[in-house]
């Protein structure tokens, strides 16, 4: 399986990569903003995307919409530090398959990915 990690923070990207590096994903790529994520998705066709919200150039929720417009079946897990409940609802409304609050842990991200990939 293929994973695309979208986050403008190198530390976050590394953290997610470390959390999921248990053999589930054969190939992992990264993008550092929403615009690059949309482009990379078209090329890479990942099974799952982890998407930060606050990023330069294009925010994560806009990227979620763009990706889903072209790929309605895309699985996108929005990972955000915005602990606002409205943000979580907004993410799901825009089509995200799940919402995960930072700081992430191995358990929390694995559980969220399990939920998304279970069907």
């Amino acid at each position: 399986m293929k994973l695309l990690i979208v986050d403008d923070s190198l530390i976050m990207r590394r953290a997610i990569e470390r959390c999921v590096s248990t053999g589930r994903f054969g190939e992992v790529r990264v993008a550092t903003n929403g615009r690059l994520a949309v482009e990379e998705f078209a090329r890479f066709k990942p099974d799952v995307v982890t998407m930060d919200i606050t990023m330069p150039e294009m925010d994560g929720l806009t990227a979620v919409e763009r990706i889903l417009r072209a790929n309605p079946k895309a699985n996108i897990l929005v990972v955000s530090a915005l602990a606002d409940k409205a943000t979580a609802v907004e993410a799901i409304k825009r089509g995200a398959s799940g919402f995960l609050l930072k700081p992430i842990t191995v358990e929390s991200i694995q559980a969220a990915l399990d939920d998304i990939l279970e069907d």
Partner: protein
């Protein structure tokens, strides 16, 4: 569940199903055969009747023929005797005797005979014993007569032959007539018998066929009736079963409903079903009414209810969330995870005025109908007690941390110092309280009133600043921070162009916070006092030389401030001088020296690099020394630093900016210097923990000049040094 409702009808067996057509087929065959039989019998009967009628007629005619024969013979005999032509009589005799002969022979042996209607008739031989006898008797009489008549009829008979014939005719005429009469009567009897015998089976057949003909519809109707009856019975049976089932079901439903009602009545949770429009269903728990403070909820929109209770942003999120709940394309698990209504704050209008704050916790479950989300089950709980408990726990946790902070801060402070600090804070808080309690605080409209308020605020500021300075002196960092936060609030207020009563609310709150901190400090101090050995505490308080203690505290204060400001210092204190001046007003002297030290470090002492660049040693030297008593009996202390001194240009700029002096006005350096004692005056670019609010000098002035009736002198050479000289009336102790 509702059981299979197909009636328990006994299905007709296969044989039974085949029997009915077989019966009908047999009956039809019977009718056909019977019909044919009737037809045959009828035809035969008609024939027999015809034959019998003809035989009766023929028998009857034989009687007449016998007479006509005798009459013709006698006529011929008479005419012959009279020599008259007798041809007609002869012809009649020949014809009639011939016919009679043919018919009597026909009766005897069967054969074709001339019928009464002139047509040939095939005569059957007689079968009846009586008829046979009659015919044999008749033939016995007839045949000899017929021979004589033949001779006569040939016309060649002699007179003897004629006479013999006439004799025989006369004797046999009557017996033959009687026999023929008997034959006729007998024939009538046998004919009737034969017709009767032929019509009996026909009648039987007719009866059978009639019965059969009536049997078919009868049977059909009977079977139909039976089937209908069976069906009716079956229907009735099934109806009874269904009724019984329905009764059981309705009983079960009633029980279930009663249970549900009981649950709905007693459950301590708001339970309801909502449809896609957010409309609340008919059945909900009673608790729901209590939670929403409504008399009636069924049929109302939950969204509309929430709209009145939630903030606009939260309501929009809720609306979106309801959309997700009813969108079957979104996974329920995902949607339930982002439930925004787990503990929302709602505000119910209070009938008594204002609002009632509550926290409600919602949970949701979808109810599917195929691929569609038909309803959503909603459970609501008033989670206010839990949330408030959590809040209290958090507060308690915070309070514990605060107390620990205070505790850690005070353990190193000698009890007497701590007591003196507590006293100072209390005094200042009382001052603040008095200031804030002033009645003219309520409504200030004129410029003069606003200015008066501002003056009062500045007074508060001085008190807080003094607390901050003392806290720094004793390294009570918790109080230092609290006072700093208070100062920040005050500074914001002082920046407001217009002040009103509400603006002071935050001041009152901050004051109360500080007082509560003071309470904690007092508590902890008491506890700590218990821990320390009482005599030691006493002796320390009694023996500690005021000057010595103050000197060491000042050293620590300067050390800390220098470290924070990344500066290097050396503090020299004339302990004796400080002790002398501070003898009967240690708090005042302490407060003044604190502010002077902080001011010096913040404004005069340069960074080590800057000092080295101007040829000075990296470490600045601060000196506190005694001053000789003045002529008017004032004693003094000098605070000297070898920093850059007062920056008169900057002071001027600031003074002009704050309207203390007119821009470009000609003012003496002394006048400029006096500006620094104005409340709120500071040349620092950014206010900080150590200086910059512009209140330090104000405190010194208010304490030394206004409170103690002393004087202040400032000496400064830019780039070289700065010295503040503080003069106070000689202490009573010193005088005595």
């Amino acid at each position: 569940m509702i059981a299979d409702q197909s009636p328990a009808q006994p299905a007709p067996t296969r044989g039974r199903r085949l029997l009915a057509p077989l019966v009908y087929l047999s009956l039809a065959l019977l009718i056909a055969a019977g019909g044919y039989g009737i037809w045959t019998y009828t035809r035969d009967l008609a024939r027999a009747t015809d034959v019998n009628n003809k035989r009766i007629n023929l028998a009857g005619r034989q009687r007449a023929l016998s007479q006509r024969m005798t009459k013709a013979l006698l006529a011929y005999d008479r005419d012959t005797r009279a020599q008259l032509p007798a041809n007609a009589a002869l012809g009649e005799l020949s014809k009639v005797s011939g016919t009679f002969n043919a018919v009597i022979r026909g009766f005897d042996a069967g054969g074709t005979v001339p019928g009464t209607d002139g047509k040939e008739f095939l005569m059957p031989a007689v079968t009846d014993a009586e008829e046979k006898r009659i015919v044999r008797d008749a033939l016995e009489l007839w045949l000899p007569l017929y021979d004589r008549l033949q001779e006569v009829a040939s016309g060649k008979a002699s007179a003897e032959q004629l006479a013999s014939a006439v004799d025989m005719a006369r004797t046999r005429n009557v017996p033959i007539f009687d026999l023929m009469n008997d034959l006729t009567n007998r024939t009538e009897v046998t004919a009737r018998a034969s017709i009767a015998s032929a019509s009996t089976p026909r009648s039987v057949l007719i009866a059978i066929v009639s019965v059969a003909v009536f049997l078919i519809p009868g049977l059909y109707l009977w079977s139909r009736a039976r089937a209908e009856g069976r069906r009716a019975r079956a229907a009735l049976g099934s109806l009874e079963t269904t009724y019984a089932q329905l009764s059981t079901q309705s009983a079960n439903l009633a029980t279930a409903k009663a249970e549900t009602d009981r649950i709905m009545e007693t459950v301590q949770e708001g339970l309801m079903l909502i449809d896609a429009n957010g409309i609340i269903g008919e059945h909900h728990s009673r608790e729901l009414l209590a939670i929403f403070r409504q008399d009636q909820l069924a049929g109302l929109s939950l969204l509309n209810l929430l709209q009145r209770l939630l903030s606009e942003k939260m309501f929009n999120t809720t609306k979106d969330y309801f959309g997700l709940l009813f969108d079957a394309n979104r996974k329920e698990k995902t949607v339930l995870k982002v439930n925004p209504l787990t503990d929302i704050e709602v505000n119910f209008p209070n009938p008594a005025g204002g609002f009632i704050h509550r926290y409600l916790g919602f949970s949701f479950r979808r109810i599917m109908d195929g691929d569609r989300v038909a309803r959503v089950f909603v459970a609501v709980r008033d989670v206010t007690p839990q949330i408030e408990l959590e809040k209290k726990l958090r507060e308690a946790e915070k309070n514990k941390d605060r107390q620990l902070d205070i505790l850690v801060g005070i353990v190193h402070v000698p009890p007497s110092e701590l007591e003196s600090f507590a006293r100072l804070v209390e005094t200042e808080l009382d001052t603040i309280n008095r200031t804030l309690r002033a009645e003219d605080f309520a409504a200030a409209s004129t410029g003069a009133q606003i200015e008066a308020l501002r003056e009062r605020l500045k007074g508060v500021f001085r008190s807080v600043h003094n607390i901050k300075g003392n806290a720094a002196l004793l390294q009570l960092s918790y109080f230092q921070k609290a006072a700093d936060a208070f100062e920040t609030k005050l500074a914001e207020l002082l920046d407001h162009p217009v002040l009103n009563g509400d603006d002071f609310l935050s001041v009152v709150v901050a004051q109360a916070g500080l007082r509560s901190d003071l309470g904690d400090l007092q508590d902890l101090r008491a506890k700590l006092g218990g821990l320390r050995s009482a005599p030691a505490a006493h002796s320390q308080a009694a023996l500690a030389p005021a000057g010595g203690a103050l000197a060491s505290q000042l050293r620590k204060l300067v050390e800390d401030a220098a470290r924070d400001l990344v500066k290097s210092t050396q503090l020299n204190i004339d302990d004796f001088a400080v002790h002398t001046v501070a003898a009967d007003r240690p708090d005042l002297v302490r407060d003044v020296l604190i502010q002077l030290a902080r001011n010096s470090l913040a404004h005069s002492v340069e960074s080590p690099a800057a000092r080295v660049a101007t040829g000075k040693p990296a470490a600045a030297t601060l000196t506190i020394r005694g001053l000789p008593p003045t002529a008017d009996g004032l004693v003094g202390l000098a605070f000297h630093d070898d920093g850059k001194g007062l920056d008169l240009e900057r002071i001027r700029a600031r003074a002009e900016a704050s309207g203390l002096i007119a821009p470009g006005a000609l003012v003496s350096p002394d006048e400029l210097v006096s500006c620094i004692f104005e409340p709120g005056f500071s040349t620092a670019a950014q206010p900080g923990a150590h200086a910059g609010r512009g209140m330090g000098m104000d405190i010194i002035k208010s304490k030394v000049v206004d409170e103690a009736g002393g004087a202040i002198e400032v000496l400064s050479t830019p780039g070289r040094f700065c010295e503040f000289r503080v003069y106070l009336p000689a202490p009573a102790v010193a005088i005595s």
